[in-house]
Symmetry: C2
Subunit: 434 residues, 2 copies
């Protein structure tokens, strides 16, 4: 293998011709593949279908304390749902507020409430001249969209192998009262699949933010979404660490069953300190009489406990792991040693993060689209959709069936090669001209 | 019958003694009855239990356009759910955005978004010095709680026999740019059970508000909640009227299945103009990937269409009507002709509004509590919980079983009498002293 950058112009031109031919062959297949979002596949949805039988017209829809789940009330969720979601995210039932079907909605509501009413008695953010958020990059586009929507200035924090650059986090959070939060996907991160190390979690817990209302937005979306249950990534529990470090109120931890049962019809939860809960429930009581308790009960009676969830997640893994293997294997086979891209092989989660040669990501995604494969837009993993290097691409292998995914991965490799060759040739031309 | 105010002091003192004795007899029964909220009774919940069988593990959970309802997506709700809720609230499917389980949450979100982002390009309310809302009184406490939570100044508008005092509404909305909205429960209103007349609806539609971002918050909570299906109240459709009057964007109309299927596990919807929908969906797309489509599908397959809903509502009415009859009958029998209270006999909805002698409502509710019957707090039907006359009491007959309700109604009559006698005696004493 030779690095593309070491090839002669002649070799590159020949390569471009070959790649263009291959690309056109794919184009002629008239494909319509989608690798854009972290959507479970149909076979993953099928493994939860028995949940539809858990409650029927003969069921007693009372929960353990006798509350009729069919009627109004129970603002923070039924206790057994708190227990289930608590076990999922490694806290206790008392740490939990149960919400509706979407943890994204919970995060939105947290920011929205902070804007209009502030956090635990602090000035509402809408009364401040400016609010800033730290955004580990590459990161989750929907997080960035929320903060952008509220006009919050986003500061990118580079991701390291074991989590965000904590020197930067400590400096920025510690030195600037306008920095009010940080978005984190601490386990099998979106899109890199990185799990924060113990050291990173402990440094988070020990933060000394300048702002009293600084909160860590800890989106534990992939808490049990391992591929290898014998050897999963382990993440330190942040609520516990924050409490130990004397920062009990510093974290909002989010989780949901979206990628466990049915996305969009699951149960979402927030885990946080008693002080934060009091603060949040003041608003929650105005916003709703209570979330869907029948669905909470359905989830509890289906999964029973954490073991039930883990058994279920093994079924998901049996579908997901081969898909990730296809993509990783194809990347290794087609792109290793060419110096035109790097990637991380995750042990769980929903994404593979690919870093192309700088200046190539948009072109690759555009080529993919022309070949009939929809990818997450290049740049989406950065605040404001702007990847300064135009390098990062999020690959979402979950949705397409395996045979389609194999094809999509091969096309991806061709598009990466083609875009890289084009870029190298273009750069050389520029250098010659200057 | 003699008006209490016409009795001599001696007669009143004797009456007080008798009433106190009766009251103490009730107290000794150690009752625990609840007439505080508009909660359906257990037998009402039972009539929806077949909904639990509609979807099972063999069901095809695809909706009509082929979308898999188990997966992410479909921001505004599945089309057949839009059709169902549209028929419920007499608009077309294209007028509808489907939300989660709670229309209260939708209303909260509308106000919250108006605070942070404004309405259709107008200045966000949080940037204004002051925002005002018109509040027909007596009205729904949870509406008032939302506007109070956001620091919006509430202006009470007296209710007439056929809706709010429209002279006042026209004057205040037309003359003050800070007036941004009005809360309405236009059919079987909470708490009076009044349905707005055609004339009132047309005057609403023809409003010329000073503020471009003035919106009518039309909470059509009781759209099909009739007691007599042969002779229901008819409410003019406000979206249509607003369009005709050249005010297509002036109304947000809310509805839900909360008191049709299961409260807290139903489906909520907003009906509004295309312009408003575009405005709202900008936010909705940031807030969530989509609401619970499986539950939407469950409702569609259970009710099928409006006729299915109406048939279902007749079962509710068969349970509700006798309860309302018990309360109305007891009020008539015990309190008619005494000059110590008035009430309206509603043709649908969830409440009976009782107006006691001024200065008696709090005392009556307190007496009820001492006798073991929880009522909605006196004053709750007014902004800030302050009924200037301390007169209005909301009676919620739906939850207790009939025999308990009969007892509660009798106790209520005794408490009204007792509080009234006390008040009259007290007033006379004051007059003598001065």
């Amino acid at each position: 293998m030779t690095f593309y950058t070491e090839l002669s112009e002649e070799e590159l031109e020949k390569l471009r011709k070959d790649l263009k031919r291959k690309f056109r062959d794919y184009q002629q297949k008239d494909l319509h593949l989608d690798m854009s979002r972290g959507k479970p596949s149909q076979s993953q949805l099928d493994i939860s279908m028995d949940m539809m039988d858990v409650l029927n017209s003969d069921s007693d829809l009372a929960c353990e304390d006798g509350t009729d789940c069919r009627n109004y009330g129970v603002l923070g969720g039924i206790y057994e749902a708190k227990e289930l979601l608590a076990s999922l995210t490694e806290v206790t039932a008392d740490d939990i507020i149960i919400y509706g079907n979407s943890s994204l909605n919970v995060m939105y509501d947290m920011i929205s409430r902070s804007m209009t009413h502030g956090v635990m008695g602090n000035t509402p953010w809408c009364k401040l001249e400016k609010v800033k958020f730290l955004c580990p990059v590459p990161g989750y586009d929907r997080h960035f969209t929320i903060t952008e929507y509220f006009g919050i200035e986003m500061i990118p924090i580079p991701m390291r192998e074991d989590g965000p650059d904590m020197d930067m986090v400590e400096e920025l959070a510690g030195g600037d009262e306008l920095v009010k939060g940080i978005w984190c996907v601490p386990k099998y991160s979106n899109p890199q699949g990185i799990t924060y190390s113990d050291q990173v979690v402990r440094r988070f817990a020990k933060l000394k933010p300048a702002a009293k209302d600084f909160r860590i937005y800890w989106d534990n979306a992939y808490c049990v979404h391992h591929f290898d249950f014998e050897n999963p990534d382990i993440l330190l529990e942040i609520l516990h660490e924050c409490k130990k470090a004397g920062n009990p109120d510093m974290v909002y931890k989010f989780c949901s069953t979206s990628k466990i049962s049915f996305p969009g019809s699951g149960v979402a939860a927030l885990a946080t300190s008693p002080n934060n809960q009091v603060d949040i429930k003041k608003q929650l009581a105005v916003q709703t009489i209570g979330h869907d308790k029948v669905n909470q009960l359905r989830h509890v009676r289906f999964y029973m406990d954490k073991n039930g969830i883990l058994d279920h997640m093994k079924k998901h893994a049996a579908i997901m792991k081969p898909k990730f293997d296809i993509v990783i294997h194809t990347l290794e086979q087609e792109l290793s040693g060419l110096g035109i891209g790097s990637w991380i092989n995750p042990k769980g989660g929903y994404f593979i993060s690919f870093d192309a040669m700088p200046g190539c990501a948009k072109r690759i995604v555009k080529l993919m689209k022309k070949a009939g494969v929809v990818m997450t837009p290049a740049g989406a993993t950065y605040p404001y959709g702007k990847d300064p290097k135009d390098s990062n691409i999020r690959i979402a292998p979950s949705f397409p069936p395996e045979e389609e995914l194999q094809l999509a991965a091969e096309i991806f490799a061709v598009c990466v090669k083609l875009a890289s060759v084009e870029k190298i040739l273009e750069d050389r031309k520029k250098n010659q001209a200057s």
